[in-house]
């Protein structure tokens, strides 16, 4: 079989077999990873949940990781990160839940347009927001809104493994109507003897288990600090900040694992920015505003390839021909000529020239 594949590649050079196979059916590709949508449902008004059967190049993922999904909107490929919510032990099907951002592009497109049979681009999974092996005896999984996806994946994975440890699954939603996977969670609670599901409503003061935004009382009530407990957290920035502060106060930060869906805040200094940014290929120039280069390029009328806009996906990687840039996440400086940089998190320090 590998010999036949190698022969086919040699015969179909320079384009490669995938470029021919996809013309017969987009899911026949061998090297690229794609997924065909097998079902679509809408659990709440502003979310969509869909399952995807990946193509043969898919090698599985680890619960908590994310995948870059690519869709075609008005002729342009758009890529965003989404964490599968399904168990890592289900090789043949991935489940995603996407919350529609009213001013977002991809999430709104998926929410409004996705149908059974649609073919999406998928990437290899990525991310280190994963459970250790052997599985921890005590776990707290905290999520808010669509941030439920990676921790639900962990929970479903543990359920498939017949896990017997203690798990607190604390999930926040605006109101009772916004709770994702309500029935599924109840079902899991029946299957997993050590699981306790706690629902918090931030905008409703009846029903559920907790009310209002996450506080120390909430944590003390459902997840009192006990030695060796690992906490996994994913949700809106407010929830992340609150829980981070609380764990810091408890002195247990090193046992907290977090996943950010939204861009982390970048260290920007827009008042002391100097120099000129030159985009060599297009000949455009713009005075350095101190914002990330991706934004400055867009301001200059360019539309560089990009994905996450937060330093994760490397879609916007471009060669910096000259000058110095600062990585706004790490603070690291890049001085060398012809170095590849991520436009979305790189800020010019003085004059720079970019090959865009």
């Amino acid at each position: 079989m590998p010999r036949i594949a190698a022969l086919a590649e040699a015969l179909l050079t320079p384009h490669g077999a995938d470029r021919y196979l996809e013309l017969i059916h987009p899911m026949l590709v061998r090297r690229e990873i794609r997924g065909v949508v097998t079902s679509v449902r809408r659990q709440t008004a502003d979310t969509v949940t869909f399952t995807v059967r990946p193509s043969r190049a898919w090698r599985g993922f680890t619960a908590g990781q994310y995948v870059r999904i690519t869709v075609d909107i008005d002729g342009v490929r758009r890529t965003r990160c989404y964490s599968p919510a399904s168990s890592q032990h289900r090789r043949d099907e991935l489940e995603f839940t996407v919350k529609a951002d009213p001013s977002g592009l991809v999430s709104r497109h998926l929410h409004e347009r996705i149908t059974e049979g649609a073919v999406l681009g998928l990437s290899e999974p990525d991310g280190a927001f994963t459970l250790p092996r052997p599985r921890p005896g005590r776990l707290v999984l905290i999520s808010g809104g669509s941030g439920i996806t990676p921790v639900l994946s962990m929970l479903r994975t543990l359920a498939d493994e017949g896990h017997r440890g203690e798990i607190v699954f604390l999930h926040y939603a605006n109101t009772a109507d916004d709770v994702l996977y309500r029935d599924e969670l109840a079902d899991l609670a029946r299957r997993l003897p050590g699981l306790r599901v706690v629902l918090g409503y931030t905008h409703q003061d009846s029903g559920g288990d907790l009310h209002g935004f996450c506080t120390a009382e909430h944590l003390d009530a459902v997840a009192p600090d006990r030695a060796g407990t690992l906490t996994y957290l994913c949700g809106p920035p407010g929830l992340l900040t609150a829980v981070r502060a609380l764990t810091e106060h408890r002195g247990t930060s090193e046992r907290l694992r977090t996943e950010d869906f939204a861009p982390p805040s970048l260290e920007l200094d827009t008042t002391n920015a100097t120099g000129t940014v030159r985009f060599a290929h297009s000949g455009r120039e713009i005075a350095n505003s101190g914002r990330p280069l991706l934004e400055q390029a867009e301001e200059a009328g360019l539309s560089p390839e990009h994905g996450c806009r937060m330093g994760i996906c490397f879609s916007c990687t471009t060669v910096k021909a000259r000058g110095c840039v600062r990585n706004a996440l790490s603070g690291e400086l890049s001085h060398d000529d012809d170095e590849e940089i991520q436009l979305c998190i790189s800020v010019p320090v003085g004059d720079v020239e970019i090959n865009a």
């Binding site: 022969l7 040699a10 015969l11 050079t13 320079p14 384009h15 470029r19 021919y20 013309l23 075609d72 008005d74 002729g75 342009v76 490929r77 758009r78 890529t79 000949g283 539309s303 390839e305 879609s315």
Partner: protein, 373 residues
């Protein structure tokens, strides 16, 4: 003679440049699903022709099948190199962010490696269009295509070299990136071409491997016929590409420029040079597609990174603007442009055809004026 700088007043040049920019902005804002659909359809047609051509050669013992197979394969290679490869590698579809349409990743069905070509073509040729001693596409470093190129007895062979270049065009394009003439002159070291050469060897091995070894062998006893068929398809593509490309910049009325003239060029002046240094070829829609829309060489040189299917749509407007400013808009049917190029190749083989009076008459005398059209 009319120099590049004194055709229009500086104000007129900038006004002219702004009109060109306006066309560009309008098209860029309008790019969308239709453009993607178009190129996907061309790709589908090319892949279908390729598969059909290769398939028919398995029945190559039957002459009509051989001829049809070679025809389909020739068309496939022409589409692949011209309307798809050349244009995709110009970045015309980079905005789609589709890796299969990415200028950085695309590789075409010819021995010239995409990466080498992109540098010499997109950067050198399109930036320094028709500037003597800078645009290495003037005569490809082997021909005398401009009266201002100093004559040398070597150029007595001009027509022979041109014929050889046409027949072996894919190899010519590949070797062009080695800048052999500059190595001979000592402007570039042999060692500095190491990576370029490595890419050439790798790419050529793959191309030769499939066309002259694997596919012939797969057809068993028909191997010689298949090999001949593949060679014919490559030859057809070579002749066609050579003809179209040489008609783009070398008909008699097209101008060339000096480095001094083009120093500190503004955007408007750059546009102006593109128009004076390029020539279109008239023809029907299918002809345009088969030339990769290089039959709209003028529009291509103005807007090299706009999808080529847009060139016919804006050609009328560009021509009208040229007329407004009294600028020539070189165009003509293929046979006429080809004849003009052939005559130039022969004429410039001889020492007495050259600078500077010759140049003047070529510039002033020729040129179908848009104003007159």
């Amino acid at each position: 003679m009319t120099g590049l700088q004194d055709r229009l007043t500086p104000e007129q040049v900038e006004e002219f440049g702004r009109e060109m920019d306006a066309i560009r902005q309008r098209i860029v804002a309008d790019l969308g699903a239709e453009d993607v659909q178009y190129i996907q359809n061309v790709i589908k047609a090319q892949r279908a022709l390729e598969v059909a051509g290769r398939g028919l050669l398995f029945a190559g013992f039957f002459p009509p099948a051989w001829i049809a197979g070679v025809g389909a394969l020739s068309l496939s290679k022409i589409l692949d190199n011209m309307e798809i490869g050349h244009n995709v590698m110009h970045g015309q579809y980079d905005w789609t962010r589709d890796p299969a349409l990415s200028s950085r990743r695309f590789e075409w069905d010819t021995v010239a490696p995409a990466e080498n070509w992109r540098h010499s073509h997109n950067y050198i040729h399109h930036t320094y269009t028709n500037i003597l001693d800078k645009d290495r596409d003037i005569g490809y470093g082997v021909l005398r295509m401009d009266p201002d190129q100093r004559w040398h007895p070597y150029y007595l062979g001009n027509p022979v070299y041109a014929a050889l270049l046409a027949v072996f065009f894919q190899w010519g394009v590949m070797l062009h990136d080695l800048e052999f003439d500059r190595i001979v002159k000592g402007e570039r070291s042999w060692a500095s071409t190491k990576e370029v050469r490595a890419r050439m060897v790798r790419k050529a091995a793959r191309q030769v491997g499939k066309d002259y070894a694997l596919f012939p062998l797969l057809t068993g006893p028909l191997a010689p016929l298949t090999l001949l068929g593949n060679a014919t398809a490559n030859l057809t593509r070579n002749l066609w590409a050579f003809a179209i490309i040489f008609c783009g910049h070398f008909p008699a009325d097209v101008e060339s420029f000096t480095e001094e003239e083009t120093e500190n060029e503004t955007r408007g002046q750059w546009y102006l040079r593109q128009i004076l240094g390029s020539a279109n070829i008239t023809g029907g829609p299918l002809f345009h597609i088969l030339t990769g829309n290089l039959s709209h060489q003028i529009e291509h040189h103005l807007f090299p990174d706009i999808p080529a299917r847009r060139y016919p749509q804006i050609a009328g407007e560009v021509r009208a603007i040229c007329a407004k400013y009294g600028l020539p808009y070189h165009t003509g049917p293929l046979h006429r442009q080809l004849f003009s190029v052939a005559r130039k190749i022969v004429k410039l083989a001889l020492p007495w055809n050259g600078r500077p009076s010759e140049r003047e008459s070529a510039t002033l005398g020729g040129g179908e004026r848009a104003a007159a059209a």
